[in-house]
């Protein structure tokens, strides 16, 4: 019955399928996504992923098209704050059909816990992702207790 719609590029079915995908991305796969009071709604710029190992915490900030030198990264009492701005230059005489890309100032905060050594933080920018590595203090790492 829907066969006649299959050729339509922007058919209702495709929109529905995309909606379904977005819902799936929203509900996710069991990872905690509900954040604290400083968290942003899904789809905000820039997106963040956080990964941890026994030694460090890695924060990935999906921030394409920024000048990393103008990024302001700070840690205070276990709260990592990243603030910056993305400006999108416009060309003369351009008329826009779509403007979906974020432009303006942004700020994101990640609560890290209190075992992060604020003196040992590394950040690099590559292909539009800021990767911030925060090391845990040695004393805070879990220790193996030997039983004699």
């Amino acid at each position: 019955m829907f066969a006649r719609f299959n050729g339509l590029p922007n058919s209702l079915l495709d929109d529905f399928w995309r909606l379904q995908q977005e819902v799936e991305q929203l509900l996710g796969d069991g990872l905690p996504s509900q954040g604290g009071i400083r968290s942003l709604p899904r789809g905000s710029y820039p997106a963040i992923n956080v990964v941890q190992t026994p030694d460090n915490v890695q924060v990935y900030l999906f921030a394409p098209g920024i000048d990393p030198k103008k990024l302001d990264v700070s840690i205070q009492q276990g709260l990592l704050t990243i603030a910056g701005e993305r400006t999108i230059p416009t060309e003369d005489g351009a008329s826009y059909y779509r403007q979906e890309r974020f432009s303006g100032e942004f700020r994101r905060a990640v609560s890290l816990g209190d075992d992060i050594d604020a003196e040992r933080v590394e950040a690099r920018y590559r292909d539009g992702i800021v990767q911030i590595t925060l090391h845990r203090r040695a004393s805070a790492k879990p220790r193996q207790i030997e039983i004699h």
């Binding site: 995309r18 963040i48 059909y97 292909d127």
Partner: protein, 155 residues
């Protein structure tokens, strides 16, 4: 770190099925999964979800320009091609996660970007230029010189 038009593969333009020649929309998106496209991800839960690429599309007197956010995609993992009358953008995020890592929080839960746009006839797909810098893809599609809008003088 910029790539130039070498990235663009243009597969010979077969006659379009008359879908895309409207003057109003120069590039319309039709989300991915056309059954005809070989290698396209399958509909359904088994396939990895495709990440949304926010795009800006604007037109100047010479060309149509599309800019897409694709953070994490290096130029080796980017594919920009014209398939018939459709511009297809595909990219894979390259993630080097440390050993023994555990995800704590994730806005981004997929590593694949894909979107496609139906082009219209006045665009010269043989002269597309693509440039990738800091996760932003810029695709510039010139208009055929003969088909650029002319100002008609009224006497």
């Amino acid at each position: 770190m910029t790539t130039n038009s070498s990235q663009v593969r243009t597969s010979s333009g077969m006659a379009s099925s008359g879908v895309a020649s409207g003057a109003a929309a120069n590039a319309r998106e039709h989300s991915a999964q056309e059954s005809a496209n070989a290698g396209a991800p399958q509909r359904g839960r088994s396939a990895e979800a495709v990440l949304r690429t926010p795009v800006d599309i604007f037109e100047t007197s010479e060309s149509l320009v599309l800019m897409a956010d694709m953070p994490g995609v290096a130029k080796e993992r980017l594919d920009v091609r014209v398939d018939g009358d459709t511009l297809v953008l595909e990219g894979k995020v390259h993630f080097q996660l440390p050993e023994e890592s555990e995800a704590v929080y994730a806005d981004v839960r997929s590593t694949a970007y894909r979107s496609s746009f139906v082009l219209s006839r006045e665009l010269d797909t043989d002269k597309i230029q693509a440039n990738l810098k800091d996760g932003v893809l810029t695709v510039r599609i010139p208009k055929h010189a003969a088909l650029r809008p002319r100002k008609i003088e009224v006497r």
